[in-house]
Amino acid sequence: MRSSAGIYRTVLAPVLLGLVALALWQLLVVAFDIKAFIVPGPIAIGTEFGANLSTVLQGALVTGGNALVGLVIGGVTGILFAIIAALVRVIDELSAAVVAAIAVVPIVALAPVLYTMFGAAAETGRQLVAAIAVFIPVYINTLRGLRQVRPVHRDLMRVYAASAWQTTRTVTVPGALPFIFTGLRIASSLAVISALIAEYFGGPIGGLGKSITSAASGSNYSLAWAYVLGAIIVGLVFYCVTLAIEKIATRHYSPNT
């Protein structure tokens, strides 16, 4: 459907801009002889990235795996809780304060506590940190979406004498889908960030977060940045996949029907 001009604008233009920025960055590093511990040049980072591709990939799988588990658990519970809260008013009122409280807690700060709970050798703590971080935006956005039922659809369900559950299933949840996906899109990046940062607080080695800290403490700055690059790619993949699913799932949504 998209014209070639559209593809140029959405894909090619940002890529070109990125390349120009990288070239400028390299130029500055060389021209001003910037030290590697401040920031290495893109060529040095790229070389380390290529040389350590398999370890970066392994780290990405560990961190990405934790983020994915967190995203699924947090996403599913967020959506389910929002549906329950939308159906049962009391739960909505009770949970409002709790959710507001969780929302302001820096969730990664829980990581050390969770490591002692589940053992320092398990990934569980990190996955839970990601899940909690994901839960909040998914819950809040889903609940908002569930309250946006169009009056004509509400009337229709009343006309059909549909039960509360039938209404939820056929109208409320499908209608909230764009909101649910907004939540998931925000959450996908949060999941990766949380899983990564949680690694800084301990737990088993192997993930990108641990690799960044150990490379940096070993003064191997270019390698540390290569892992950072790996983490950025994982984050981008999460975001783009969620966005793609959203575009497919909501492709027929238009307000004028």
Binding site: V152, H153, L156, R158, A161, T170, G175, L177, S254
Partner: protein
């Protein structure tokens, strides 16, 4: 010994008509808005619709036509007075699925295909897959959308969406159809075709219809009776009985018929108040 068989179909104004499709008696509807401000949308409405009868509601914008339809559909409750549908309370009639309804907006579910939208009431009421499929293809043929069974609403024009909504209203072959300006979004040609179709469908199914419209010719062409309403507070100003024959006799030629024009100008006179309009049958919109 008063035998029940003595009771014949009562005239429209009788207080209790046991077998009326719709009976509205002494209904007022007052909306209370913010800061206790009230709007009297309807005032002392009495209306009886016989089974199989086609009744149009016509009146200026904001006179309460949609409100009256919503009261019959039990989507709202009257402030005073009663509404019964086939002798039941409006609420019971809704629960028993005694009517089909098409709103002013199509109100389709955008995430469902045309088929999915039409079969929605059947699905909710536990009709099996095979029976649903058969009924949907019947209805698709009826509204001329057989080629669009798997399309989504956003791929249809406004008029096509409205036809899907009409098919959905007809899905359970209701004895009563409530329609709120269903053809408002259609072009003149499609509109006349849909009117002819509606006359045919209601002729075949024997369903009673309460039909809201802004178009005088449409009301005259379709109806057995045209109910003319006055601006706020909404009241029934007059009821015109149109005798243009049975459904079979209402062909396209009827639109050029003398009697048709006479009725059109009568409704216009009623709508605009007493002053009769000079030349009859010139303006047909």
């Amino acid at each position: 010994m008063s035998d029940a068989s003595d009771i014949t179909t009562a005239p429209a104004t009788a207080p209790v008509v046991p077998d009326a499709a719709v009976q509205v008696s002494g209904v007022d509807k007052i909306f209370t808005g913010k800061k206790k401000a009230t709007v009297t949308a309807l005032e002392s409405i009495d209306l009886t619709v016989a089974p199989g009868e086609f009744v149009s509601l016509i009146g200026p914008s904001g006179c309460g036509k949609s409100t009256l339809l919503r009261l019959i559909a039990d989507l709202d409750t009257p402030s005073t007075g009663t509404v019964t549908v086939f002798g039941k309370t409006a609420r019971q009639a809704r629960i028993d699925q005694e009517y089909g309804i098409a709103f002013q907006q199509a109100g389709l579910l955008p995430w469902r295909t045309v088929t999915g939208n039409i079969e929605l009431p059947l699905e909710l009421h536990g009709v099996g897959g095979a029976a649903r499929k058969a009924r949907v293809s019947e209805l698709l043929a009826l509204v001329g959308l057989s080629d669009f069974a798997e399309s989504y609403p956003d791929q249809l024009s406004g008029g096509m969406q409205q036809r899907v909504a009409i098919a959905r209203a007809l899905a359970e072959s209701p004895r009563l159809l409530l329609m709120d300006e269903p053809f408002g979004a259609l072009d003149e040609m499609t509109r006349e075709r849909m009117q002819t179709e509606l006359v045919r469908i209601t002729g075949e199914t024997g369903a009673a219809v309460v039909f809201v419209t802004h178009s005088i010719p449409e009301a005259v062409y379709l109806s057995n009776r045209v109910v003319v309403m006055s601006p706020r507070p909404g009241r029934i100003r007059d009821v015109l009985t149109v005798s243009l024959g049975t459904a079979q006799e209402r062909t396209e030629e009827l639109r050029e018929n003398e009697a048709f024009f006479e009725n059109v100008s009568k409704v216009r006179e009623l709508l605009h108040g007493e002053a009769p309009v000079g030349i009859r049958g010139v303006e047909t919109r």
